[in-house]
């Protein structure tokens, strides 16, 4: 009987607000330590938290985008634990009534559509940061991050294996950026995932004992960590052992997970409603406003691209990986007025390769959709060959300018003048009588060699379609 790996993902997405969840301190990244920690954030006595309207609206925006139910009345709760970077001794979170219940994330894996249900998404505040090095045996505390608004998004444990878990996390990552609730910057900790991993025999109904893996700050590490952890659990069980419920840390240098704390010393958070904060009530009016402000969502746009532009699911998926990419594509199609398939090929091929090579984002691409459209129009009308188009693109990337300017300046126009091509063909046939004879005796390969000779004689500038037509006519 085969083993099945079951994964649930908890994600902390930092909400894109200017100020904190409960104070007016800035959330800008990278400030000098403790310069963005207000009296509420450092828990001075006598202060009171006041909730940030934008954080709540962004949480609702997410809830509506994933088709979850918005709790019209939700409650902030205290999650109690002691740690020096948590000055109050509790984190303000939501427990019994989170702002979002349910919902689903749609994504594609190996061209198949997958839908994963969400358990909930709730608002909470981040803790500060502990720095353990270089303070003469002391720990340094920076509370700039304390109180930053987070949306904790919890999936149901229904992801099967590391690949599917990563595909889910990527789709969620793309979605929160798409709807503008989170900047998605994983290096800065704006999007952090923990994975709950368990294994079971395929025919078992219940779930196995799970371990929670923390510190997954890239998709690559997430995949490695889940694979390692699943293997560890299977080996343990096959050797007659038992999996202990515990929190484990992924160590990317060693490529393994190791125990952080077990259930025995597991925390008892003693949640209770925060008396400093009143129930949060979401008026109907606000819900409909936020719903109206939602952009077309990635899965809807992907399906529309397939339908409207006759693209494959794969291409449509690539082109809707981010809102900037999808916007680029539609601007390109509109400006070029050529086959959408040609636009898709160029955006997912040449453009994306150069963006990768130059480590640039499509949002800051030096070649605008209008500029690229100029190249595609000249491919489409036969002015330049595909090969010359790549040259034009490289020049455009480095120096700017329009396609037509570059084509003229660099003499990249292909020869489509029928008389000139005919002359070339005559010369080639005269010089390659043997190949011509081979073709006439039925060797199709000889034809391609002749086309190659014509191209060579024109130094690559002859229109290959016209050259082939002229050859056939003369040989026929």
């Amino acid at each position: 009987m085969a083993w099945e790996v079951v994964v649930g993902i908890e994600t902390h997405a930092q909400l894109a607000t200017k100020s904190k969840m409960f104070s007016g301190a800035s959330t800008a990244f990278g400030a000098a330590p403790n310069t963005q920690a207000a009296a509420v954030d450092i828990a001075l006595p006598g202060v009171l938290p006041v909730a940030n309207r934008a954080a709540i609206e962004l949480a609702i925006r997410f809830g509506l985008a994933v088709k979850g139910a918005i709790n019209r009345r939700s409650i902030f709760a205290r999650k109690n634990y002691f740690y020096p970077d948590l000055p109050k001794g509790y984190q303000i979170s939501q427990y019994e009534s989170p702002i979002v219940r349910g919902g689903e994330i749609r994504f594609t894996l190996n061209d198949a559509e997958r839908v994963v249900r969400l358990t909930r998404a709730h608002l909470e505040e981040d803790a500060g940061k502990s720095l353990h090095e270089d303070f003469h045996g002391m720990t340094g505390i920076d509370l700039n991050r304390a109180g930053t608004p987070l949306l904790e998004i919890v999936s149901e444990p229904e992801l099967r294996g590391a690949k599917e878990a990563v595909a889910y996390a990527r789709a969620l990552h793309a979605l929160v950026m798409w709807i503008g609730i989170c900047d998605g910057n994983m290096q800065e900790g704006s999007f952090r995932c923990d994975a709950n991993v368990s294994v079971k025999k395929t025919d078992e109904k219940g779930l196995g004992t799970r371990c929670e893996i923390k510190n997954l700050n890239s998709f690559r590490f997430m995949e490695q960590a889940i694979e390692f952890e699943a293997k560890r659990q299977v080996e343990l069980l096959e050797d007659g052992g038992q999996v202990e419920q515990e929190t484990r840390l992924y160590d990317p240098e060693r490529g393994e997970t190791r125990s952080m704390r077990t259930k025995e010393d597991a925390q008892d958070y003693r949640y209770f409603p925060d008396p400093d904060l009143l129930p949060l009530v979401v008026p109907e009016q606000l819900l409909s406003e936020i719903l109206q402000g939602l952009p077309e969502l990635p899965d809807v746009r992907r399906e529309r691209f397939v339908r409207e532009y006759a693209l494959t699911v794969y291409d449509a998926g690539l082109l809707t990986a981010s809102r900037a990419a999808a916007d680029y594509f539609e601007a390109l199609v509109k400006a070029a007025g050529v086959e959408p398939k040609l636009c898709a090929n160029w955006q997912t091929g040449e453009l994306s390769a150069v963006l990768n090579r130059e480590e640039q984002d499509i949002a800051t691409c030096p070649v605008s959709p209008q500029m690229l459209a100029g190249i595609l129009r000249r491919i489409s009308d036969g002015t330049i060959s595909g090969k010359a188009a790549k040259q034009v693109f490289e020049v455009m990337w480095k120096l700017g300018g329009s396609a037509d300017e570059i084509i003229e300046r660099d003499g990249l126009r292909q020869v489509s003048d029928a008389g000139a091509i005919e002359k070339l063909v005559d010369e080639v046939l005269a010089a390659n009588a043997r190949l011509a004879a081979d073709y006439r005796s039925g060797k199709e390969k000889a034809f391609n060699a002749l086309v190659g000779q014509v191209m060579k004689a024109s130094r690559g500038k002859a229109n290959p379609v016209q050259a082939a037509e002229a050859l056939r006519r003369k040989l026929g």
């Binding site: 006041v50 940030n52 303070f135 129930p279």
Partner: protein, 95 residues
Amino acid sequence: MSLSHDQIRRIARLARIAIAPGEADALAARLNRVLALVEELRAVDTAGIEPMAHALEVVQRLRPDEATEPDRHELYQSVAPAVQDGLYLVPKVIE
């Protein structure tokens, strides 16, 4: 319902309150009196009544998302026991 010594010790540990070995008895007796009061409240039939999260019948006011707080870390850190490079220093918390 009454609390055992183990439960008393556990609650104290969670709250980071040190209790002397002899104190547990007295604490258990006092906490159990509180629980007895809770038992009385539990006798009330609350079927169909929505639990209250707050004693006031008002809802949360929200503030606009604006960064309004100035940097006051020097003032705040003037009362901290130990500070270095703008960080609060605390006894080492990792293994």
